[in-house]
């Protein structure tokens, strides 16, 4: 166009009808941020890089260990209901109740995270790893508590146990005696 205009001795026609948009708008910044992250993860990975890529290999092994443990514990705790003691049918009733509690907590934490994640202005990374570690700690603690207090199973009502009641009454009487002694000494 410019060459033709030069030959005719006239100014060239304006071809840029759309004015350039300002690059400082927040939406453009977000788009540029997304494009940079895309360019960072542009490298393609083969099937064999699961084994040969050091980071990927570590991630696969770690993820496999955690998931294997989860499946073992999930199905194992289901099968071990008979070893809890007490009525098996009551155990079978309490087990889904505990599951429902777990799923409720999961939904309560995860749904607001998803809502936050979908909102681009408040986009935050999901703290999945932190939650995973916390819940693993809970599992370890509860697993240890099953050995420390074997009578504390789902169906055996610990508070109603006669030995516990006797011990509790003995403790109360001891405390009463101590308080009486303290009063008399004053």
């Amino acid at each position: 166009m410019k060459d033709i205009a030069n030959v005719n001795g006239k100014s060239s026609a304006v071809t840029d009808f759309i004015p350039p948009s300002p690059k400082t708008s927040p939406s453009d910044e977000q788009i540029s941020a997304i494009s940079t992250t895309d360019s960072q993860t542009k490298k393609s990975y083969n099937y064999f890089q699961i084994i040969f890529h050091p980071k990927l290999r570590l991630r696969v092994i770690t993820f496999t260990v955690i998931k294997t443990y989860l499946f073992v514990a999930f199905f194992g705790s289901l099968f071990a209901l008979s070893s809890l003691g007490g009525n098996i049918y009551v155990n079978a009733l309490i087990c889904p109740l505990a599951e429902a509690l777990g799923y409720f907590l999961y939904c309560k934490t995860f749904i607001p995270l998803i809502i936050n994640f979908l909102n681009i202005d408040k986009a935050k990374h999901l703290p999945v790893l932190l939650l995973l570690k916390r819940s693993l700690q809970v599992i370890v603690l509860t697993g240890v508590s099953f050995l420390l207090i074997p009578t504390l199973s789902c169906s055996s009502f610990f508070m109603c146990h006669p030995l516990f009641l006797q011990g509790f009454l003995a403790l109360v009487t001891k405390l009463k005696r101590k308080s009486q002694l303290m009063k008399s000494s004053r």
């Binding site: 490298k43 260990v65 370890v140």
Partner: protein, 103 residues
Amino acid sequence: MRAALCFIYGFIYGLGNELFPIEVRCQSIGISDIAASMGGMFAPVVILVAETYGLNALFLFGSLGFIALFASHFLPKDPMNSLEEPDEGVEMNYIKMADHETV
């Protein structure tokens, strides 16, 4: 314990999506699923072993969680980070090692 397991169950799937790049996501999650299914098959064996040795089976499953808890420390703090960039934890360890060598 059961509630905590169910609580984790959803997060482990979310974590799998974040950990692996899209090209190898199916393969890596598939490998871990195979291993997990094998683990599920061995769950009754664990109960039998616990009963024979006079242990509480639930204690055994809880104590096995130590391994998973230890393994979770090897996961990157920012899974969405590219695989080519150094992880924060790895970098910190490298700095610590370098300081130790200089001392």
